[in-house]
Subunit: 402 residues, 2 copies
């Protein structure tokens, strides 16, 4: 068994779960911070550990371009490279190849695209994406899919969904044949590196880590905004058979009520006893809402990206820290937040750092936003445990602070 997933409690559609991966035990529903290029921008790994991040996400497209898969593989995969010994999930590169590249050519074989960095030409296919993700060595990897553009007509959504299903088969085939090449099984220096880094990683007790396990490959459901196509995609993906399933191709510009509709419809056809991962969402209210609907895993750049723009989520609403009203405010950013930033610094100081374009602004803002997101999910899990609802948990609002 590569991963194990068990449901410990339910409330309505929501599930409190335990996801055992090779590198960490992850409590679900979980929010995964995005560490695009092998770094959650500005936040050192020990701060992530302090925030109790159990699993983070790396982007295969970006890491493939730099530093390159081989470099990472030789350093023991992403775990060795980043000196991160908790869990990692990588996406397949499918999304960036479509979202970052105007000039691309899609065939049944795969996608030819140009690097957004230097225009050089590259090719991604299910096989090469698996090869890259195996080399990067994340605990959970994703099938190579086609993220259907939005909007799209029904014909296009169907064609795209069907190719994703064929690509899912090819992803799985390649993966099953090569999964034992994962660096933590093959790169001898790996154990040494991990134990020399992050020495007090709380989740590294022998009984929670098992590197005899291989990676796990999750399938991705597509089908655009068409509920019938989504059902078909879900059934076909489940038929191929994966240890977990993601809902892709959402949060691409569609109205939020459509997102919810598609998620609800799709979840109906995904196995209840396996993890369900909704990719690329959301605001604090949204992640609580989707958890309430039965989603187990989510990722989004929003907390980290908003932080870099000085947009901070708090229990009193969204704060745009650059505003002049905070320039002399001695209070903490969020009186209800226990993160390092709120315990130590004033709004005036945070506002000054942002206005002065200080790097520390990005670091502190990101630490707070991640703390807020992770606390939000902790409260959701707590609610499920206690048998309460998870909709609109107290104190969560993405609305601007009045």
């Amino acid at each position: 068994m590569s991963i194990q997933f068990q449901i410990d409690a339910t409330r309505g559609s929501a599930r409190l779960g335990t996801l055992i991966t090779p590198h960490a035990v992850v409590e679900t529903p979980i929010f995964m911070p995005v560490g695009t290029l092998g770094s959650v921008k500005g936040v050192p790994q020990d701060l992530l550990e302090e925030l109790r991040v159990q699993i983070l996400l790396g982007n295969t497209y970006h890491l493939y371009l730099r530093p390159g898969v081989e470099t990472v593989r030789r350093l023991g995969g992403l775990h060795g490279f980043m000196a991160w010994d908790r869990a990692i999930l990588t996406d397949s590169g499918g999304f960036q190849v479509f979202s970052l590249n105007e000039l691309r050519k899609v065939t049944e074989e795969g996608v030819t695209f140009r690097s957004h960095l230097d225009g050089s030409s590259h090719f991604f296919s299910p096989e090469s994406s698996m090869e890259a993700q195996i080399g990067l060595g994340a605990d959970i990897i994703m099938a190579f899919d086609e993220c259907t553009e939005f909007p799209a007509d029904r014909e296009r959504m169907r064609t795209s969904m069907e190719m994703t299903a064929r690509w899912a088969e090819r992803s799985k085939e390649y993966f099953e044949e090569h999964k034992n090449e994962v660096p933590w099984k093959t790169v001898s220096s790996f154990e040494f590196q991990v134990s020399s880094g992050g020495a007090d990683a709380r989740n590294s007790k022998p009984e929670t880590r098992n590197l005899d396990r291989t990676q796990s490959l999750f399938g991705i459901v597509q089908g655009g905004m068409d509920l019938e196509l989504r059902k078909e995609s879900a059934l076909r993906t489940v038929e191929i058979g994966f240890p977990g399933y993601a809902i892709g191709g959402l949060s691409v510009g569609e109205p939020r009520e459509v997102t919810r509709e598609v998620v609800e419809a799709t979840l109906e056809y995904l196995p209840a006893d396996q993890p369900r991962y909704l990719m690329g969402v959301g605001t604090p209210e949204e992640i609580a809402t989707y958890a309430g609907m039965g989603v187990d895993m989510m990722d989004c750049v929003l907390p980290t990206r908003a932080a870099r723009h000085g947009l901070l989520f708090t229990s009193e609403g969204k704060v745009s820290i650059k505003q002049a009203r905070y320039a002399a405010d001695p209070g903490p950013l969020d009186p209800a937040c226990g993160c390092r930033v709120c315990r130590r610094y004033s709004r005036a100081y945070l506002r000054h750092l942002y206005a002065a374009n200080e790097v520390l602004a990005q670091v502190l803002n990101t630490v707070h936003n991640l703390s807020f997101y992770l606390d939000t999910m902790r409260r959701v899990r707590h609610s499920i445990r206690l048998g309460e609802g998870t909709r609109s948990p107290s104190g969560v609002s993405s609305q601007p602070k009045p």
Copy 2:
């Protein structure tokens, strides 16, 4: 008594000292990291505490422009504003007013200059500099001086030196009259803020902090590169009388042997029982050398600025981390360094972060360089304590790594 300074041991000209300031006990010789705008760029205050930074420097010119002295004063001075409860030293603004501003008009009264940010017009004088520095509330503040340009003819060096002496008198006069307005004596929220921030600041034991003390104003010796003028400036500044003395106007483009010559000549005329502060130096070898000559305090942007350019000081020489040779190097940056960065991350990872323009590069590089500088001074202090020489301590080299 505002500060207390005692010499605990000597070796040749070097002195091991204890400088007791209102907010912290500082062991000398000491290197002070520069936190220009109230932040040591990219490094959160708790990391500075972990690095055992006892005292850091803030730039009055920059803070005066943003966020402005009044904002800082209302937040309890720089200590409250930055949530830093160890020691702080501010410079007078004299240097930046000369180095950052082409358009400036100098009269006996003071200097009219334009903000480098938005071109607005401002005026600094000994009195206004003191007012600003009192409002910022650092433990040690500096007389408002004229930093003589380099090169300069003897006539110019003399005129400049003499004006600095007259400005030193005015600085002291204003300071003595207004020093009780320091925020930690007058801003009632101050104690609350400090105790709510940095709760485990190791240097905050009641017996080491004494906020009944006022700030201390140090005088600055000028005189360009002329040894006679330097002597005269030293004698005149000592005659005015300050609890500590700085040597300013060096590291302005003169050859290093001239710097040493001037420092040596000037130290001869500064009281042995008071702290001597050499402003704006240097490389790791230089700070060790100057400590050996009897300098007690130094500051420089070099470790932090070099870090941002990927130039890292190590026991094996200077490392330019962007170089391709490090792209797959699994070893630590500096095998002899015990900082968080060297204990956890590989050169390959640091190189990747820098090449990918990741913010974490700046954070980690700065943490390491500061650790290297602070370790260098710790070794110097240890050498003095043990009665060894301080010249070229083992492992310190600014030369590029072979």
